[in-house]
Amino acid sequence: QQQVKQSPQSLIVQKGGIPIINCAYENTAFDYFPWYQQFPGKGPALLIAIRPDVSEKKEGRFTISFNKSAKQFSLHIMDSQPGDSATYFCAASPIPPRTNAGKSTFGDGTTLTVKP
């Protein structure tokens, strides 16, 4: 049973466009929702994260929108650049005092290509 479903699998946008990547989760015990960026041959790098007490969070060109009732969250990349071309993963995790707070559940990733 896949607990975090991510879409689309791949995405191509022009420079300056706003790619949107969506994730849906099932486990209501999840309290922390990070997004990671991964380049080929590298480990995932934490981009931005949100807790369910807010509906939106912005950091630079990256924005997370969160819909607790729908159990969905999304990543928006404003003014996308070719250097943003990478694989993006959403994830979800419980936080203390819940158990398994160190266990993140990941989506299967979205490969983003930003064309010049």
Binding site: P94, K103, S104
Partner: protein, 114 residues
């Protein structure tokens, strides 16, 4: 400041062999988690260690084991390697148990089993 470091970078093993992967967390971080990332998929949780104790285990067979040392570094061991164990093995560190959900990943060890 150095991030999470992992060694070796790449490794090629034969079916049935055993492998040990190593991880050093960010300085000051006491929690280490291990993940397996198969090509084209997201990382899958294997273990979490905090203060040398196992605090979480994913759905992996007993061929997988790990430990954490007093300096908070960690080793992941995989016995009786199968072709399906070929993957990128990622180590993630967190400051402590209360913040174990905030994870910072290393570059990974690419394991190829032939």
């Amino acid at each position: 400041d150095a991030g999470v470091t992992q060694s070796p970078t790449h490794l090629i093993k034969t079916r049935g062999q055993q492998v040990t992967l190593r991880c050093s967390p960010i300085s000051g971080h006491k929690s280490v988690s291990w993940y397996q990332q198969v090509l084209g998929q997201g990382p899958q949780f294997i273990f979490q260690y905090y203060e040398k104790e196992e605090r979480g285990r994913g759905n992996f067979p007993d061929r997988f084991s790990a430990r954490q040392f007093p300096n908070y570094s960690s080793e992941l061991n995989v016995n009786a390697l199968l072709l399906g164990d070929s993957a990128l093995y990622l180590c993630a560190s967190s400051l402590g148990l209360d913040t174990s959900y905030e994870q910072y990943f290393g570059p990974g060890t690419r394991l190829t089993v032939t």
